[in-house]
């Protein structure tokens, strides 16, 4: 009886969720619910404002509209087939159709594979917010000239042909999962894909009228800063949410994410200060985004000191990459998606091999850990994703151009997309 009592007393004090691995943990669930809200905040309003402020007055609504429409279209496609093709089944490049229309997602269902302590419904929507932001990032490449119907079609195709397979390959049990590629929150899946796609799309579409030239400048820099702030705050959900639990991994992910953002911002600001004589607010904000993009894949494995280094490389390399693409190569990747996200994401993927903590990285790769081995795995991963993205982005944009014209006419471009495409104007007096 004493024994029984003891048991009961002990039990009475237990309130833990985790007793059997496959049960919902309310703390983890609370954190991923929150993270989902934070990642949605990154796109709406974060990215929308960041991009919207960077374009000219006459195009501000078109950019907001593009981000908004992408968020909606991707959400629907994710329900219809995106989630299923990304996270169900064992294919190398695509999953299977077991969860089409989310038919498999029970009200009480637990998440599959990793993330075992949260509901599957939550896993679906958390991942959906990643699927939303990736094509929305590509908006920066074709801003101020692409037609809205073409934009919708292209984004839907691109999600299907690039994002979903990349997601499946890296996170969903596909080829790169098998290879042991480490990518916590999307250096490859999100940033490399959108960055490379941006280059391809920018080259196919051609530059804006007046590029390069002094007329293509931000119409509302406070809006840019505001958007950047939401990206920063939201990114806590992006990276620390990707730890799937509310524990030490999430805490460290948040800390290193923040450090890299801060150092990336200061480095870019300083580089610009040296080059041009003045520090700028668009500069510090852009450096911050570069710092965030670069730490993204590594935020599950590096520590604070590694984050300082990653932030520094993000701020400096991405700054010079921006000069290169626009200044030297004269490619009108209008809002610098490739140099910031593409370069940052790939750099982070590669750096993490050397900056990671041993014990953690070996989880991802097979057997015991060796930085060089991991680096080669990561490099192969980059190769596959970059190649895949180049090919299928090109297919997506070309296919779109066969169905509907990609660009507005020259005069319409002068007039501005807000009026031409949406019969609206941003600001009235």
């Amino acid at each position: 009886m004493k024994l029984l009592n003891l048991c009961l007393i002990l039990l009475a004090t237990v309130s833990s969720p985790a007793i059997f691995a496959s049960e919902i943990n309310s703390g983890d669930t609370a954190w991923i619910l929150t993270s989902t809200a934070l990642v949605l905040l990154m796109t709406l309003p974060g990215l929308a404002l960041f991009y919207g402020g960077l374009v000219r007055t006459k195009n501000v609504l078109s950019v907001l509209m593009q981000c908004f429409a992408i968020a909606c279209i991707v959400s629907v496609l994710w329900v219809l087939y995106g989630y299923s093709l990304s996270f169900y089944g064992e294919g190398n490049f695509f999953g299977n159709g077991d969860a089409l229309f989310l038919s498999n997602v029970a009200r009480d269902g637990l998440s599959v594979g990793y993330a075992t302590s949260i509901p599957e419904s939550l896993f679906v929507i958390f991942q959906m917010t990643f699927a939303i932001i990736t094509p929305a990032l590509v908006v920066g490449a074709f801003a101020e000239r692409m037609k809205f119907p073409a934009m919708c079609l292209f984004s839907a195709l691109w999600l299907t042909l690039v994002y979903i397979p990349a997601c499946h390959m890296v996170w969903g049990g596909g080829l790169l999962t098998d290879w042991g590629v480490v990518d916590l929150a999307g250096g490859l899946v999100v940033h490399a894909t959108c960055g490379v796609a941006a280059l391809v799309v920018a080259m196919v579409l051609g530059p804006r009228k007046g590029f390069p030239g002094p007329s293509l400048v931000p119409h509302n820099r406070p809006m840019v800063v505001m958007g950047a702030a939401f990206l920063w705050v939201g990114w806590f959900g992006f990276n620390a949410g990707s730890a799937w639990t509310a524990g030490t991994d999430a805490g460290m992910a948040m800390l290193v994410t923040h450090i890299s953002a801060a150092v990336g911002a200061l480095t870019w600001m300083t580089a610009e200060w040296f080059k041009t004589g003045k520090p700028t607010v668009v500069g510090i904000a852009t450096g911050m985004v570069a710092g965030l993009a670069t730490i993204t894949p590594a935020s599950g494995t590096v520590g604070p000191q590694g984050a300082l280094l990653i932030g520094f490389l993000a701020g400096s390399v991405c700054f010079y990459a921006t000069q290169l693409i626009k200044g030297t190569l004269k490619i009108d990747d209008s809002l610098d998606v490739f140099p910031v996200h593409g370069v940052g994401g790939i750099m982070g993927i590669l750096l993490l091999s050397f900056l990671g903590t041993k014990g953690i990285l070996s989880v991802g790769s097979s057997g015991d850990f060796n930085p060089i081995t991991q680096f080669i795995i990561q490099l192969k991963g980059v190769g596959v994703i970059v190649l895949w993205t180049v090919i299928f982005t090109w297919i997506a944009i070309k296919a779109t151009s066969l169905i509907t014209s990609l660009r507005v006419g020259e005069e319409d471009e002068s007039e501005g997309l807000d009026l031409i495409e949406h019969n609206e104007t941003g600001y009235q007096n």
């Binding site: 390069p212 030239g213 002094p214 400048v217 931000p218 580089a271 610009e272 080059k275 041009t276 003045k278 700028t280 668009v282 500069g283 852009t286 700054f319 921006t322 000069q323 626009k326 200044g327 610098d336």
Partner: protein, 112 residues
């Protein structure tokens, strides 16, 4: 009647207004304009690239006066708007045929 059009530096506006009031001028119309002239513009930055903005914000004052106040007004503006540096602006004098006060229908000198 004359219409005095003065293009001045924005930060001088307050001073000019006060000087005009002191000189007995209590009606004018302001417009925000951009000026281009000998005064150089400035450089702006955008993600490491520099570009030149060669127009500068200016304020245009339009002041309708009777002919006899011409000298007072131009002198008041010249002295209160001047900094001695390039870009101080210009004053144009044009003749006006007539002026009407909408409220009363008065015309000419009474309407100013």
């Amino acid at each position: 009647m004359k219409l005095i059009t003065a293009i001045i530096k924005p930060f001088k506006l307050q001073e000019v207004r006060e000087a005009l009031i002191a000189a007995g001028i209590d009606g004018l119309t302001l417009t925000e304009v951009k000026g281009y002239g000998r005064q150089k513009g400035h450089t702006e930055l955008y993600r490491g690239a520099e570009y030149t903005v060669d127009t500068l914000p200016k304020i245009k004052l339009e002041i309708l006066i009777e002919d006899d106040k011409l000298k007072v007004v131009t002198e008041t503006i010249t002295s209160s708007a001047g900094t001695g540096k390039i870009g101080d602006g210009k004053i144009f004098i044009t003749s006006v045929d007539d002026v009407i006060r909408i409220r009363t229908g008065e015309t000419g000198g009474d309407a100013i």
